[in-house]
Point group: C2
Chain length 304, copies 2
C-alpha cells in the first residue's frame, strides 16, 4: 500500500507552550502533502520534521481563531521566496481572504504564485476536494465561531491481477486495465470469465478524520463512522466539563465517547489546555472509555 500518514506539527490550545506549538498537521498520501490548520510556527515545524513547504498545494483551515491560522502569512511568504509557482488552494471561512490580503499585498515575489481561496460550507457536509487518489469532505462542528472538521478518504483502489492466470490467457494490456476496475473477461470464443477468477481484492481504503475545535457532537458520527484514525480535540479533563461547555471545547472522556460511537480504529487527542503540564492525565482518562487512544505529540507520525 502507498504511504498514508498524519504528522503532528502542533497541538496546543490557544497558548503555545514550551513543548507544544499551536495546531497544524500534515496529511501525506503517497508523497502528496496536505496541510490542516496553520498555527504560528508551522513553517518552522515543517522544516524541523523534514517536510517541504513547497510540496503543499492544499491547506484546510478549520476556523479563524489565531492559533489555527497565524502561521499562514509566514508559510505563504516562505513558499513565495522559495520560488513556488502556480496555485495554492486554501479551504476556509471566506473572511480569511480579507485577513490575509493586506499582509500578502506587500510581497513582490508572488508574481507566478497565487493563493486561491475556497469558502467552506458551515451548514452541511460537502466534498471540497478530489483527485484520483483522495477525497476530502468537510462537515460542520460546533465552536464559538463557524468551524469545520475534515475527513480524508482514499479512493477505491484497483483490484490486483492474478498474475499466473492473466499470463496464461495472454490478456492484452488494455483488458488488464478493465479487469483491475472490475470487468469480467471474454475469451475469443465468447466464454465469459468472471472477474473474481482473474483478480484478488483491492487493498482496503483508509480514512482520517480531523475534529477541532468543537463541543462533542453526535451529529458528526455518520460522517466519521469507521474511519481508521480520528483526531478529536480534548482540551480539558472531564472534571472541567462545565468549562469545556462554556468555551465550546471537549473533554478527553467526551472525545473518547465519540470514538466509541463512531467505531473508529484509533483515536488521537490533542489541543490540550496549557494547564496540563503533560498529557498523561488526559490520555489516561480517554483510555478508560476508548483504549486505543494516543496523544498528539509534536513530530509524531501516525501511519494509517
Amino acid at each position: 500500500m502507498v504511504p498514508f500518514t498524519v504528522t503532528i506539527l502542533g497541538s496546543s490550545s490557544a497558548l503555545p507552550t514550551l513543548t507544544r506549538f499551536p495546531t497544524a498537521q500534515v496529511v501525506n498520501l503517497n508523497d502528496k502533502l496536505y496541510l490542516i490548520d496553520c498555527g504560528e510556527g508551522t513553517q518552522i515545524q515543517l522544516r524541523k520534521f523534514g517536510l517541504k513547504a513547497g510540496k503543499i498545494n492544499h491547506i484546510f483551515i478549520s476556523h479563524l481563531h489565531g492559533d489555527h491560522i497565524f502561521g499562514l502569512p509566514g508559510l505563504i511568504s516562505t513558499m513565495a521566496l522559495g520560488g513556488k509557482k502556480g496555485e495554492l488552494h486554501v479551504y476556509s471561512h471566506s473572511e480569511l481572504k480579507i485577513m490575509m490580503d493586506p499582509l500578502l499585498k506587500f510581497m513582490h515575489e508572488m508574481e507566478d504564485f497565487k493563493v486561491v481561496y475556497h469558502p467552506l460550507n458551515f451548514r452541511s457536509r460537502a466534498v471540497i476536494y478530489e483527485d484520483s487518489k483522495l477525497s476530502v469532505e468537510s462537515f460542520p462542528v460546533k465552536h464559538r465561531i463557524p468551524c469545520c472538521g475534515f475527513v480524508f478518504r482514499e479512493k477505491q483502489h484497483e483490484l490486483h491481477l492474478r498474475g499466473t492466470e492473466v499470463e496464461y490467457l495472454k490478456i492484452p494490456i488494455r483488458d488488464r486495465v478493465a479487469l483491475k476496475r472490475g470487468s469480467d473477461y471474454c475469451l475469443s470464443d465468447g466464454t465469459r470469465i468472471p472477474n473474481s477468477d482473474l483478480t484478488f481484492p483491492s487493498d482496503p481504503v483508509r480514512s482520517y478524520a480531523f475534529c477541532t475545535d468543537t463541543l462533542p457532537r453526535k451529529q458528526i458520527i455518520p460522517v466519521i463512522k469507521d474511519v481508521d484514525l480520528l483526531y478529536h480535540e480534548a482540551t480539558f479533563c472531564d472534571d472541567l466539563k462545565d468549562l469545556a461547555l462554556k468555551t465550546y471545547h471537549s473533554t478527553a472522556k467526551q472525545a473518547a465517547e465519540i470514538a466509541v460511537l463512531a467505531g473508529v480504529k484509533k483515536l488521537i487527542i490533542g489541543h490540550f489546555s496549557s494547564r496540563y503540564k503533560n498529557e498523561k492525565l488526559i490520555v489516561d482518562e480517554a483510555r478508560t472509555v476508548f483504549a486505543n487512544t494516543l496523544a498528539a505529540n509534536e513530530g509524531e507520525r501516525f501511519e494509517l
Copy 2:
C-alpha cells in the same frame, strides 16, 4: 547600576532555519521590557527564554517585511488572552495598522486592551519614545522598503551623595534630591557649598543601537556614535557583496567597518543568510576589521 540587557529571540534572515527564528530582540532596562521587531514565533521564544509577554508595552518595528512582523498577531492575541489591560504602543510604518486590523478585529478579548500605532519618520532622526529612564530615537537606514534603526539611550543618572558629608551637615531630604540633580547647597549662614564637595559622579549612561535591514550607511554614524553595543545586520560574507548591494543588505566586513567608524564598544552581528550553516565564517570576517564582534545567537543576553 540597574540592569540593561538585550536578549536575542531570533536572528535569521528571511527564512527561519532549524537554529534561528526570524528577527526579534528584547531590551530590558530595569525590568521594563521593550521589543524590537517581531518575527514569527516571537511569543514562543519569549516563553522559552523566561520573558513575560505581558510586561511588554512598547514594540519598535524596523520595517514591514514578514520576517520582522509576522509574530505580531500571535503575540498580541496571547497578550489579550493573558488579560493584558491598557495600551500597547507599536512604533512602525503606518501601513502596519492596515495589515493588523483585519486580523485583530476578530478578537473579542480586547475590550480593555488597545493597540496604539505610532508612525515612524523615515526621512530624519526623531525621538519617538521617552520615559524617566530612557529615550528611543529612530533613524532612517537604507533597505528595499522604508526602514528605521533605533537607539536606546539611558537618561542621565542622578549624582551619588557623599554619605558622610551629607549626614554631618544634616541636609534635609528635599535638598538631597536637589543635590543629586546637581545643585549646590547653601548653609543657614549663607555659605554656598559646591555640589562636587557633596556628591560623586553619576554612573555612566549606556546606549544600544539596532540597525537592520540595511545597506552599510555612513549617514548613521553621527546617530550611533560611541554606543556601548551595536547590533548591525551582516546577511552575507564579503565575497557576496554584490548580492548584498542588490538585496539592500550588508556584509560582515561592512558591518564591522560601521562599528569602527562609530567607535562603538561592542558589535553583535546577525540576520545571517540561511546559506551559512554556522556563524563562524561570518564572525571571523567581521573580527578582522573589528575584534570585539559577537554573533547574535538565540537566547543570548548581552549586558550593557
